[in-house]
């Protein structure tokens, strides 16, 4: 049966690196047009899971479906354009902010206009004076914003975010959250967002996946889950781990 409301589906996905299990029998769905937050301690396999959705990694066993089609049926560059990812480790390349923003266009032999770049920059809370500054001279938070804008240049249907606000000040966090909520509402973009901040997860997620040691422990509607998963929260906070 085809579910139009499912953007990504994991079926018994396992992922191993050098005989070390990273993901263990993960099955679940990410709903189309919704924001799902992904929480769990460090080493739970969250980033690996995100990279699989973008096709940077492949499962050792199991299947992943993107809009009801096996991920393997997509041409990799088309998949990655459609499923954008912003990683915590996404580097700013050498050059100006404009050159960074133009990167997705350049990869497709297209030209980015200055006014388009300014519009995307303003969307993430940076004004036009940043356009010709060297990307690597910006602060960590500003670099993260450029990184988000750069991924948005591809106008992806699915957006994967890995702790993108961890380096930002509270005002910037609010701006970014608002921006992504707007994108989600306006374009029905499916967003999967890894966060270490429980309050953020509660605030922005329609759905939540709780992961631990490579397994999906709990998943479902955020409102219900956060009111009934005290054990999980306690486990990961009392264990000295970040969420």
């Amino acid at each position: 049966m085809i579910h139009n409301d499912i953007a990504i589906e994991f079926k018994k996905v396992c992922y191993e690196v050098n005989d070390l299990s990273i993901l263990n029998n993960v099955s679940g769905v990410f709903y189309n047009g919704k924001i799902t937050t992904l929480v769990g301690p460090s080493g739970a396999g969250k980033t690996s899971l995100l990279k699989m959705c973008n096709g940077l990694h492949s499962p050792t066993s199991g299947d992943i479906y993107i809009f009801n089609k096996p991920i393997t049926t997509y041409e990799p560059t088309a998949l990655r354009t459609n499923v954008g990812i912003v990683l915590q480790s996404s580097p700013i390349i050498r050059g100006t902010v404009f050159e960074n923003l133009a990167l997705p266009f350049k990869l497709k032999n297209k030209t980015l206009l200055e006014k388009e770049a300014i519009a995307f920059l303003e969307d993430v809370g940076l004004d036009r004076t940043f356009l010709y500054r060297q990307g690597r001279d910006l602060s960590g938070g500003q670099q993260q914003k450029v990184s988000i804008a750069r991924t948005l240049m591809n106008q992806p249907n699915i957006l994967l975010l890995d702790e993108i606000t961890s380096a930002l000040d509270p005002t910037s966090v609010q701006e970014i959250e608002q921006l992504l909520l707007n994108i989600n509402k306006k374009y029905k973009t499916t967003i999967i967002w890894i966060t270490h901040n429980i309050e953020q997860a509660k605030r922005i997620g329609d759905y939540t996946w709780m992961m631990m040691e490579g397994q999906l422990v709990e998943s479902g509607e955020s409102k219900r889950l956060w009111s009934t998963s005290n054990d999980f929260i306690q486990t990961i906070t009392l264990g000295g781990q970040e969420v």
Binding site: N54, L56, S58, T77, R80, G84, L87, S90, N154
Partner: protein, 252 residues
């Protein structure tokens, strides 16, 4: 030069041995091995070349070139073990370099088609190609390891493997070619090349020796460009799998 006079040149081996021992550089064993190997190898090559020159047969010339390519490949591949199929990639590169350079030299009748010219020139060009391949592989594998995040970023934005490693590829090609270009800028001013010096010591006309040296220098430029570019473009696809994913260094 008599063999007894030649034996006196071993003083030049004794000096680094004594220095190594005194300063505890731990290079004595390697120095002795290098000395013994060079004597044996050069003696063998000397007699083999004499035999090949006298026979003047195309079969023997081809066998000598094949031997050089095999030896150069086995040496260069050690630096690129992280790249799948590096042995045949280097071998193909050396064969192409040899075919192109000798094709030009013999095709335009720049040098006579005899063993006396083909074999020494092939030796110099294949040797240079081997060094270039090693320089390229050293730099390229180091660049890839230090730029994994950048390469994955370009892939994640929809780039192809070629686009993702373009900077590392061109940087390694440039780095491996620069020593050849730089050394040519100072040639004759700082150092007199070995081949030219050898000819002059052997009694040849210095002007003719220089003409042959220029021929070799220009040949080395083509060799440098072809070697690093060919090894580079043959190597980078093996860093990725069929899903355009950058392989972990342990999986290469």
């Amino acid at each position: 030069m008599t063999y007894s006079t030649l034996a006196l040149t071993l003083i030049f081996v004794l000096i680094p041995l004594i220095l190594s021992k005194t300063l505890k550089l731990d290079l004595e064993k390697d120095t002795i091995i290098a000395t013994v190997r060079s004597i044996i190898q050069l003696m063998i090559v000397g007699y083999v070349l004499k035999w090949v020159f006298e026979a003047d047969s195309i079969i023997y010339i081809l066998l000598m070139i094949l031997l050089m390519i095999v030896a150069a490949t086995l040496n260069a591949r050690k630096k690129g073990k992280a790249i799948r199929g590096i042995t045949w990639k280097i071998a193909v590169t050396l064969v192409i370099v040899e075919v192109v350079t000798q094709g030009i030299l013999l095709g335009f009748q720049i040098v006579p088609a005899t063993a006396q010219y083909i074999i020494p020139i092939s030796g110099m060009l294949i040797g240079n190609s081997m060094v270039l391949s090693i320089l390229f592989l050293n730099r390229f594998t180091a660049e890839i390891e230090s730029s994994r995040d950048e390469i994955e970023l370009l892939l994640s934005l929809g780039g192809t493997p070629k686009q993702a490693v373009h900077r590392q590829l061109t940087s390694a090609i440039r780095a491996s070619m620069i020593p050849t270009i730089e050394s040519q800028k100072t040639i004759g001013l700082v150092q007199l090349p070995g081949m030219m010096s050898g000819q002059i010591i052997g009694g040849a006309d210095p002007v003719q020796a220089i003409q042959f040296q220029i021929l070799i220098l220009f040949g080395l430029l083509t060799t440098a460009a072809l070697s690093s570019i060919l090894v580079g473009f043959l190597s980078y696809p093996t860093l990725f799998n069929e899903r355009m994913q950058l392989l972990r260094s342990s999986a290469l």
